[in-house]
Symmetry: none
Subunit: 197 residues, 4 copies
DNA sequence: TATGAATGAGGCTTCATTCAT
DNA sequence: TATGAATGAAGCCTCATTCAT
């Protein structure tokens, strides 16, 4: 407790990160000023720079959070003990639900990568690649065992599905007619149907 | 003729638009300064403000170009005289090819919408909606006539496919293993397979 | 005439440079803010950055001016048609007069070198070295022909004299008892007397 | 003892002063942040402000140290029991050796005086004046007794010599060809030769 | 004796746009 | 039709110092 939480009980760094995430998603990284962030978090600029080396570090933090979360979930589903079509379906649906539940993170993720410095960008790309490959491996597994069609290269199938995930932040609205789970179910269905032999 | 083309024969406004398109795609709209644009186009700031009212107008111009082009092509394919599955397939493949052939336009389109003023943004959204609805109508037509499955709402199917189009600018590289037509073929296949009853 | 001189007839870049020179000499480079400079010059910050790329460029400009001036004068005296002791004496006295007449430039020169970026610093050092060597050549010429003592290495003699030039900005006051020419005469005398065989 | 020396046996205040001296000499006073100093000394900011009232106090401490040391040495040589030319020669050589042995102190001394507050600056000037006068008295003594030429005002001679001392921090390198004693010998020679009647 | 979070003022720089020519 | 000097607001970041613990 005490000083690090002044006001509402949440530690300053987390307050800053939450404010930055919301503002980056709403207005874009470049359009969000440090001043707006600190005002939204109820601290001063000095405090921000006490915890984060730069505005870009805040962005990097968002990326780390997203990457870690998604990779963990994918690993859990992919390693499960179930038929490959079930594992793929669960993983494909889960990434949709998780993305919708963190839609701010997602819009930032897909729209602000070029705002990261080249070296941080490279690190992020490397982690995404790892994620992509894990997902692709699932598809290839099914293709080899014949439960999935091999008509389309697995790489392309991955990009097909992730295109739709990426796109969610463009059209999904929490007050729309479909729940996250329903959307996830439909998108996973489409993927699996496209893969039918 | 004459002064408006100084140097290489292309009129100044087009030179400016070409320079802006490339730079916006490479660096993002906010990261591109008016100074950079005029330098890349080989003119001065005065010239830019002679032809365009503001930096945002250049962006708006890119949007107009993309929207007009895609709508024209979609209309042509959708109105063709052919079975619905063929019309959908052709339209779905064509938007992929056209997008790849104008990848700079596409990255700008999907990434810079929030840089347009609210009113211009609204106009763009309206036109996209029109495009979306024309595409959706094709799918609904097939669903009604039974050639497509009705398991997934047509709206969602549209977003599924356009997610993958949107995503192209993230992963497609001209020097990659697949030609634009091959990619288009695969993505259209995936869509139609997902729609099999 | 016209816009570039608004106010008092001197072009803006020169006004800025004059203001910066005075302020850098009075307060030091780091203690002088860009704000102070533009206020003293009667322009806005934007104008400064229209003409100079950075605060450091202003400093670099002072260095260029000093180096060019001193090198020209040394070359003129060293190349004259006169006995070496006369050429050395004239050169040694002249650098004192010139330094006193540009005392602001001189204090900046000797005190602010470490504020230049490494690469600019290197360039300045190279030019100073050239100056040093021209001066040393004069002394060596006299040592070889026997009119100067060879007891002290010529390099050290150069540094001995330039130490006193460097030091002028520390103690010389225009309202003191000695005119620039008198000081110059005395310091040149000291040098030549120290070199008597 | 105990906590004040944590780590390597040197008391905290001295560690701070040593770190500050090195950093001020390397980068200049303004370019050195309190953060850098405490990091170099291996302590925290709180510790620095426990021992020193401000960053400026650290600078003031360097000045005190230099002034005390040089004055003590000059007094010793000037008060010795020897002919005036020998006393002057020894004093002139000694200040060179001492300066070279404390080159960091010297660069700070000559370059950072304007960073002291007006009142501290005044105190330092007064002490330097006292030093200057003691040195000048030696020269005047020799001039009166006829062993030194009176062609140049004694004040100017002092400044001539101290210019070269001041200048040492600009050009002297420990790995150069001359030892401190050799440089001192040469510079003292030059002074005495210049004073030959 | 020492910590380190937090402040608040100020620093340098960038930039879209205007306007006299 | 075009120039480019100049503006003015805003942006990111640094830093010496304080203070509750």
């Amino acid at each position: 407790m005490a000083r690090t939480t002044d006001g509402n009980g949440t530690p300053v760094p987390q307050r800053l990160l939450a404010a930055a995430t919301r503002l980056f998603a709403e207005q874009g990284y470049d359009r969000t000023s440090v001043q707006e962030i600190v005002e939204a978090a109820g601290v001063t600029k000095g405090a921000l720079y006490h915890y984060f080396g730069s505005k870009e570090d805040l962005l990097q933090e968002v990326y780390s959070r997203v990457l870690r979360l998604q990779q963990e979930r994918l690993d859990a589903f992919a390693d499960a003990d179930a038929p490959v079509e079930e594992r793929l379906r669960d993983a494909a649906a889960d990434v949709v639900v998780t993305t919708i539940e963190n839609l701010d993170d997602a819009s930032i993720f897909f729209r602000s990568m070029h705002h990261l410095s080249p070296e941080k960008n490279k690190r992020v790309r490397a982690e995404r690649r790892r994620y992509h490959e894990r997902f692709r491996a699932l598809i290839e597994e099914g293709q080899k065992s014949g439960v999935f069609s091999s008509a389309t290269p697995a790489d392309l199938v991955v990009d097909y599905h992730f295109g739709s995930v990426h796109h969610l932040s463009t059209w999904y609205r929490p007050d729309g007619p479909l729940s996250p789970e329903q959307v996830a179910g439909h998108l996973a269905d489409l993927l699996l149907r496209a893969l039918r032999p």
